[in-house]
């Protein structure tokens, strides 16, 4: 934050001091335990549409959240108004509310921890963020859209965007934990349409990175966005049937997102997951290995410690099809008589890098052997039920005939149940890329229904 000319940002030292002061204030006012998290950041975004700047946004943000415990009761508060009197009022109000709520023996801060993985070694912060000229940021978005629009099949653009942000996170609690780290993110994306007004296809492509130099180049983003969009032109409907479904990596990630919501300790203790009571049991085929790992250098989901100051770790969630671990924060861990896995987020469990381990073969090998199949490229809608595992979504994809892509398909739905899907993965590709905190490679799944005509 040193380079910021405004007087109105906090230094890192000031933020840590404010967090410590608020912890003391709450303790003096009678809290048994206190936790204070404060973040401060700067954000930039530019949207380019038809080669003109559409939106140019710059922001300077901060916010704090506080959790108070007394007599095994909890009250919390958060604010983007960091003035001391506001924060002190919020703490006083929270202590007041505690009088009217009830005891919960599992409440409380985690055991004291004083060591965590070095934020520097996690490569979360790229100092170059302070040096990229604004013209270069604008140009990256402009170039990306320009290259995409130069393809004659592209008939309209949702625009290209470049954004970057840097954030400083500090956490202090009454157990003596004090930790902080900085992180950066950069992203570049473009959304496109192909075809004429009443018969359009649309899609997008983008990339995010913590390090500017590793951000995919405009040529690569534009090329993939164009290819993804035009392949959906002139779709057909197919008849209702069960057919092998090939999930592209983004779709595997989507499926894993649903799996995450079912292995979350919060869902388990609340009994809103079909995986309640399944710990140690076989829930998937032996080919399924799922890991959550917060300590992978440079990855988007990495962090040294979680929202409660518990050090992040590598957790094998599914091991050869067996459910080895839920993902837990301190509260859900205590409820379930387990140990926190370092997955506390603001107000619940969140993934670190949650991924399906890749196989050894390229996806083309699998597709070329399919007499018929459906390559799933996008789903829309709601229709995921963690309590039952049911999946029901609108789908876009490509029909596979005799091992080759035959034609695009739209206006169909896919449905099935995650409980079954986990046993019906017949292929796992080698193409795992960590493009988002939740990710997986191409997979082939049998037994899902595609509903059409």
């Amino acid at each position: 934050m040193k380079t910021s000319p405004a007087k109105t940002t906090f230094t890192q030292h000031e933020i840590l001091q404010l967090a410590a002061d608020l912890v003391s204030f709450a303790q003096v006012r009678g809290a048994d335990e206190v936790e204070v998290a404060i973040s401060q950041g700067e954000e930039f975004n530019v949207d380019i549409r038809h080669q003109e700047i559409e939106n140019l946004t710059q922001a300077q943000t901060w916010g704090a959240s506080v959790r108070l415990f007394k007599d095994n009761k909890i009250a919390s508060a958060s604010s983007s108004d960091l003035r001391p009197e506001t924060m002190q009022n919020l703490i006083a109000n929270a202590l007041q509310r505690l009088e009217l709520t009830q005891e919960d023996p599992w409440n409380g801060l985690p055991e004291a921890t004083f060591s965590f993985f070095s934020p520097e070694k996690l490569e979360l912060y790229d100092p170059q963020i302070k040096e990229i000229p604004i013209e270069k940021k604008i140009e990256l978005a402009r170039q990306t859209e320009k290259i995409a629009l130069s393809d004659k099949r592209i008939t309209n653009s949702h625009g290209a965007s470049f954004s970057c942000a840097e954030l400083f996170h500090a956490l202090a609690n009454s157990q003596g934990f004090v930790g902080s780290y900085q992180e950066t993110s950069f992203s570049l994306a473009v959304g496109l349409q192909a075809g004429e007004t009443d018969n359009r296809a649309e899609d997008y492509w983008g990339h995010s990175s913590r390090v500017f130099e590793r951000l995919e180049k405009p040529e690569e983003i534009a090329r993939r966005a164009v290819a993804r969009t035009v392949r959906l032109l002139n779709p057909r409907k197919i008849s209702t049937q069960q057919v092998p479904i090939v999930f592209e990596p983004e779709m595997t990630s989507w499926l894993l997102g649903f799996l995450f919501s079912c292995v979350s300790g919060t869902a388990i203790y609340q009994q809103t997951s079909f995986l309640v009571g399944k710990l140690g049991k076989k829930i998937a085929g032996s080919n399924i290995e799922v890991v959550d790992d917060g300590l992978m250098p440079g990855k988007l989901g990495s962090r040294p410690f979680d929202q409660e100051g518990v050090p992040c770790q590598r957790t094998q969630v599914i091991n050869q099809g067996r459910l080895d671990s839920y993902l837990l924060d301190t509260y859900s861990a205590r409820r379930l008589k387990l140990k926190s896995t370092g997955n506390a987020g603001g107000g619940g469990v969140r993934p670190n890098n949650f991924y399906l381990l890749p196989g050894s073969k390229p996806p083309d090998k699998f597709i070329s052997q399919l007499p018929q199949g459906f390559l799933l490229v996008r789903t829309i809608g709601h229709g995921l039920n963690p309590v039952t595992g049911e999946i029901s979504r609108g789908a876009f994809g490509l029909w596979i005939e005799k091992g080759e892509i035959a034609f695009p398909v739209a206006e169909v739905t896919i449905s099935g149940n995650l409980q079954d899907v986990l046993h019906q993965v017949v292929f796992i590709g080698q193409d795992l890329e960590f493009r988002s905190p939740i990710c997986g490679p191409t997979i082939g799944v049998e037994g899902l229904t595609v509903a059409g005509n």
């Binding site: 939106n55 140019l56 710059q58 922001a59 009022n89 349409q193 409907k237 709601h382 206006e411």
Partner: protein, 490 residues
């Protein structure tokens, strides 16, 4: 929050409404924002308080109080928006934000932190009072924690008592007060205080190995006492438990194309997705919506009239002014099957040479306004609901909606947690977890019968667009769609 305790702590008090910009400061900030040109500069100030209460495991488990304070500075030049936001409302920070927003109006390639800042004395402000008063205005968060706890407990206990199969209940109550002030370079200063309450109950039923979840909720821009007059807690607890129990008996939906009947009320989400979004004027001016070239064209069965009305008292989607300070108007989108209007914010209205309809909304100070829906409904038709059911030999009755999504190309889905089969004109077996998919021009033509029983959904709905979530309400009468793809199981 009011405090009913005998010994209030010294600090326990209403937090002071924290933004009072002196006119001279506003003038300087606006002038700074316009220093490089532009047709509008605007300061959007927001102070929002949230109070949340959660009950599960038979106890009042969590309470949370949150404050959102921030300012968004916007400069519009032609179709371009320069925008900056901050959580610090000090004058120096706001001036810095104004300079950042102003960059849009220069050649953009040579930003600098020290352009000249002329301060025209000509800008004078007029404080406007909105003509609508759609919700309680004075004492903003009047409900005591005790009153809220009582309501939550009542809901919780009602759900449990419905049946021994109910094994788990969770109830949350969120009370919000959003206060916004909009100051712009046309001399406007206008404020709105928007209250909101939302009570939601989740119930899980178990029978043998089967577990199902039911959800219900209600609320609105209304105070707790007024809201609770109709035994709200009992009704919501009952509804959530009943849906969970009903799902225990439900089977997977059939798969394939079939006639679909939308239940009155919640079925409005289909119109919201299939039609409403694509009549938002940003998609029209960008020509990404399939409706961009269809003004005055007949696109639907003449029974179809679709309206968006931000001025219905106490509804979630209502507001006295939109987030650009425009007074909202009830807006006809489709009249007797013909496209007659779009939902406009100021930017789209200017590009399309129309007036804003007062539909410029933003999630919060950190977001640019977009044309959005408010309370959207399909107007009543002539058919009796029984006549509509009778016309169907085999089909699906859609009643509990989870939500939907649409792409600009017109493909949309919406999902049901539960519904019923229609066989020979009657509702028969309950079915669960269904996704319906269609394309909007086709579904508009396929609306065959519109009932006379217009209802609005419960006041819990939200709508997401470009990452911004805002409260909305949908409504419709019983509606028959000739043919829609139902995504069930084989």
């Amino acid at each position: 929050m009011k405090n009913q305790e005998n010994t209030p702590p010294v600090e326990e008090q209403k937090l002071v409404f924290p933004f009072q910009l002196a006119d001279s400061d506003s003038q300087e900030i606006i002038s700074t924002a316009l220093a490089r040109g532009g047709w509008l500069a605007e300061i959007f100030l927001e102070y929002t308080q949230f109070h949340h209460l959660l009950m599960e495991d038979d106890i009042i488990k969590e309470t949370d109080e949150s404050i959102r304070l921030g300012a968004g500075l916007r400069v519009l030049e032609e179709e371009k928006s320069g925008f900056a936001y901050t959580n610090d409302l000090g004058k120096e920070t706001l001036l810095k934000a104004a300079r950042a927003a102003a960059m849009i109006a220069s050649s953009a390639s040579t930003p600098t932190n020290s352009p000249p800042f002329p301060i025209p004395g000509s800008l004078s402000f007029e404080r406007k009072i909105p003509p609508h008063a759609l919700y309680p205005h004075q004492d903003p968060l009047p409900s005591s924690l005790e009153a809220k706890i009582k309501l939550v407990q009542e809901t919780y206990q009602t759900a449990f008592k419905v049946h021994p199969h109910i094994k788990k209940v969770r109830v949350s109550l969120v009370e919000t007060l959003q206060q916004v002030t909009i100051i712009n370079s046309e001399g406007l200063i206008v404020s709105d205080q928007r209250p909101m309450i939302k009570l939601v109950c989740l119930a899980i039923a178990e029978k043998g190995a089967r577990r199902e979840v039911g959800l219900a909720g209600d609320g609105g821009r209304i105070d707790l006492v007024h809201l609770n007059r109709h035994n709200l807690g009992q009704r919501i607890g009952q509804e959530a438990a009943t849906e969970a129990l009903q799902l225990l008996e439900a089977r997977p939906a059939p798969a394939g194309e079939m006639p679909v009947v939308l239940a009155p009320g919640q079925g409005g989400v289909l119109l919201h997705e299939a039609v409403g979004h694509l009549l938002e004027a940003d998609f029209i001016r960008k020509k990404t919506s399939i409706f961009w070239n269809k003004l005055n064209q007949l696109v639907a069965n003449p029974q179809v009239t679709i309206v968006d009305d931000p001025t219905i008292p106490h509804f979630r989607g209502s507001y006295n002014i939109d987030d650009e300070g425009t007074i909202p108007q009830k807006t006809h989108l489709i009249h007797q099957g013909q496209v007659v209007g779009f939902l406009q914010d100021r930017l789209s209205a200017r590009v399309l040479k129309q007036n804003s309809t007062g539909h410029g909304r933003r999630q919060d100070y950190s977001c640019l306004p977009l044309p959005r829906m408010s309370n959207t409904y399909l107007d009543r038709g002539e058919y009796l609901p029984e006549e509509i059911l009778k016309s169907i030999k085999k089909g699906l009755y859609a009643c509990h909606f989870q939500g939907g999504q649409v792409e600009d190309s017109g493909k949309f889905t919406f999902s049901l947690s539960s519904g019923y089969l229609i066989e020979d004109g009657h509702l028969t077996a309950p079915v669960k977890q269904v996704t319906l998919i269609g394309s909007n021009l086709k579904v508009l033509r396929d609306i065959e019968m519109v009932g006379n029983d217009l209802l609005f959904s419960d006041q819990v709905g939200s709508c997401g667009k470009e990452g911004q979530t805002i409260p909305v309400t949908d409504g419709c009468p019983t509606v028959k769609i000739k043919n829609l793809t139902v995504g069930g199981m084989l």
